[in-house]
C-alpha cells in the first residue's frame, strides 16, 4: 500500500516495472473521481462504471509503457482520457471487451457506492425551512434542470441573482443537513 505517496510518484513506480501495488493504489484513488466524471457526463451509473474501467485500462497501459512524459501531469492525462473515452462511448466504441481480456477483470472491480443518500424526511424539513424563492430555485434548477436564464425569466430577476439565491440555498441545505464544512 502507498497511502502517503503522491500521484506522480505512483505513476513513476508503475512505469518502472510491474508494480501491481502501485497500480492498485492508483485505481483506488482515481476510480471514484472518474466515476463522478462519468456520472456527470453520462448520467447513468452503469455507464460511469464502464468509463472507470476503460479509462483506468488506458491510463495503466500508458503508464506501463511510459507514454506519460511528465508524471506531475497525471491528473490532466486522466482527464483527457476521460474526455476521449466519453466521446468514444457516445460513438458506440466497443474496445472495452478486448482490453478487459488483456488486463483481466480482477483489478477492475466496480467502484463502491458513493456517499449514502441523505435522509429524505430530514431533507424535506430543510427544504421547507428555505425561503419560498430559494426552494423554488432549488427545485427548478436541480430537479427540472432549468437553466439560470430560464429561472431568471420566471422569477423576474437577473441570472446573477438566481445564482446567488441557488448558492445561498445550497449552503443552507448543507448546514441544515449537518454536512457543511
Amino acid at each position: 500500500m502507498y497511502p502517503d505517496v503522491e500521484d506522480a510518484e505512483l505513476a513513476l513506480r508503475i512505469g518502472s516495472g510491474t508494480d501491481r501495488e502501485a497500480e492498485a493504489e492508483l485505481f483506488r484513488r482515481m476510480a471514484p473521481r472518474i466515476r463522478l466524471y462519468g456520472l456527470r457526463h453520462l448520467r447513468e451509473d452503469q455507464a460511469a462504471q464502464d468509463l472507470v474501467q476503460q479509462v483506468m485500462i488506458a491510463v495503466l497501459e500508458s503508464l506501463r509503457e511510459r507514454r506519460l512524459r511528465e508524471a506531475e501531469k497525471l491528473a490532466s492525462f486522466v482527464l483527457g482520457t476521460c474526455r476521449m473515452t466519453v466521446l468514444n462511448i457516445r460513438r458506440g466504441d466497443h474496445r472495452r471487451q478486448r482490453l478487459l481480456e488483456q488486463f483481466g477483470p480482477q483489478m477492475l472491480q466496480p467502484v463502491g457506492p458513493a456517499n449514502p443518500q441523505p435522509d429524505s424526511e430530514h431533507l424535506e424539513r430543510c427544504l421547507r425551512a428555505l425561503r419560498e424563492r430559494e426552494r423554488s430555485v432549488v427545485v427548478m434548477s436541480f430537479y427540472a434542470e432549468q437553466s439560470g436564464a430560464e429561472v431568471a425569466g420566471l422569477l423576474g430577476v437577473s441570472e446573477a441573482n438566481v445564482r446567488v439565491i441557488r448558492h445561498r440555498a445550497l449552503h443552507q441545505l448543507r448546514a441544515c443537513m449537518g454536512v457543511a464544512r
Partner: protein, 193 residues
Amino acid sequence: MSCTHPIDAAILADYWSSALAGQQEEAVEAHLLGCAACSTLLEQVAALIDGVRQVARSGSLRMVVSEGVLERARREGLTVREYAPPQGGSVQCTVTAADNLLIGRLAVEIHGGQRVDLVYCDPGGAEIGRLPDIPVAPGCGQVILQESITFAKAAPDNVLTARLMAQEDAGGERLIGEYTFNHTRSMPGKAAW
C-alpha cells in the same frame, strides 16, 4: 486528505447541474481529477442534489413551481392532477392514490416588482397559513402552486381559500386574486384529522 484550494460546494453544485461556463467547467474538472478532498465533497453535493430530486418527485412540498417542473414530472411518468379555479371563483377538487403531484393554477396579473404573499384561509376567512414573497414575475399571468400531496391525501372533505396578496410599499396589503378549493376526499380509509 486536504486541499489547499478547495472548490466551494455551491460551485460543485453548479458543475453537477451543468450550470458552469465551458472554461470554468474545464478548470473544475481538472482540479477534481487530481483532488481526493474535492471529489469527496462533490459526492456529498451530488447525493444532496439527488435527494432534492427525490423530495421533488414525492410532491410533498407546498411551493410555487414552474412548467418545467411539471414537464419533468410527466417525462418521469408521474401523474399530475391540476385544477384552475377562476379568479374570485371556486373549483371542486379531489386527489386519488394514483396522483403524484397536485397543482393549482392561479390566474393573476402581476405588475412590476411587487412582492406577493400567498395566504391560506379557512371557510370563515381566517388566515391559517402564509407563503411570504412567492416567486412570481411581472406578466407571467399565473402562479403555479403545488399543494403537498401528502397533506391532500390525508385531508378530509374541506374548503380552503388561497389569496394572493400584493404587499404595499407603504405597508399593508392588497388582494389581487382569490381562489377557493372545495376538496372532496376520495382516498380510501379515514382522513388523518
